[in-house]
Amino acid sequence: MSLVQELNNKALRLGVPLSVHLDVTYRCNERCEHCYLEHDDRGEMSSSEIYDVLQQLASAGVFFLTISGGEPLVRRDCMEIIGRARELGFNVKLKTNAVLIREKEAIRLRELGVEQVQISIYSHRSEVHDSVTKLPGSLRRSLAGIRLLRKHGMKVTLANVLMRSNLADGEGVRALAAEVGANYRIDPTVTPMMNGNTDILRLRVPTSELHSIFRNSDLVGDVETFCAPPPPVDDGIREGYPCSAGHTACYVSPYADVFPCVQFPLPCGNLRGEKFIDIWERSPQMLEVRSIRGKDLPTCSSCSHLGTCTRCPGLAYMEGNMRGPSSADCEKSFVRTGIVTAGMLARRGTANPRDLVQISSM
């Protein structure tokens, strides 16, 4: 077992939120077409409120802290927030579009000992990238920021959200990552907006294309393993919990709301009126999420994919039932293996009009 797994198991046993994603703002200098956020400021936490939250997170045992947004660097106090987080011993990962990173910021991030910076790049071609971000010149500026980060020794990951519009450019972004000495990560999941609006799902990669992505060893590693049929569902799988959300991880919004995950908008409490540890340990919503095991899922518990499916309870929640299937993951399980899923069968029976993804036969 790797040390990271051991650490996770220990955190799970102790009930410690090992990882927290903190969005310091929803404001952004880009307007990405697939973004799930509303960008108006509805009352962000002040610097001192954030410092207090950081202190509470450190006391609760949080170790991995992702600072993100919106674009975190539009906050003038962003570097102070990061500095405070580092003083408190967090392992900090920063998610930014890098548009605002100049020499000074790159040097500062390095000095502060930020572990890595993740930057979303949609294409190696300006016309494609900029049409996703709706900010002219954004690829040029992001790349300049990335090069400065690399020059000053920062570890950088390029995150490539694949959608209909940039599907052909995955290889280009991968080559770009190699050229600047960055890691590369693809993400074929476009999620609904946090306000429940599902319009942006039309941007998702179509099923037919997902099929070729999942069979491209450059993108998924060993195709045979990736697309292998799921193992038989045993007691370990039935007693297992779906993911880290609410177990060893959670999310804090710029408005001090606490959720099980950035992709799981179930409000569990607000840090303006409650202590983090009380929300984490006692909020009924957190306890409910924490109580759910594979065997408790009405449809998925009878699905042969249960052991390997990436079922996201947050996406399922946004579809109306946190214990239900997540149709995006149902689709992925089916496209990976060619084996029909319990969620598909259930939908065929009920033809739910709220379906996020229509699964067509291949």
Partner: protein, 104 residues
């Protein structure tokens, strides 16, 4: 033996979890989990306390080990932590300036 003053590195993240120190180095994203003796050295490594004092005041007492074994173990652990960039082993104490010595 020449006296050494252990000092925590600055490019590290750390947290004490159930008495165990976990450390991640930003330089190479490696995760470390320190054993109890190494944890004590790490927590006392302020760049002003000599290793011998850490051994005397913390290790011998907390672990009920004889001074000779404790020094030998402590030196070995300190060297190992140094080899991973987790500690510096200084030849002399750093000047008293708390904000400059606190590592994250």
């Amino acid at each position: 033996m020449i006296e050494k003053y252990p000092l925590r590195g600055t490019q590290l993240a750390s947290r004490v979890l159930d008495g165990e120190v976990i450390i991640m180095s930003a330089a190479d994203s490696t995760l470390f989990s320190l054993n109890p003796v190494a944890s004590v050295i790490w927590q006392a490594a302020d760049g002003r306390t000599p290793l011998s004092a850490i051994v005397r005041e913390h290790i011998c007492e907390e672990f009920d080990i004889d001074p000779e074994t404790a020094s030998r173990d402590a030196e070995a652990f300190a060297e190992e932590l140094k080899s991973h960039g987790i500690l510096q082993l200084l030849d002399g104490p750093i000047p008293a300036a708390p904000q400059a010595t606190e590592s994250a």
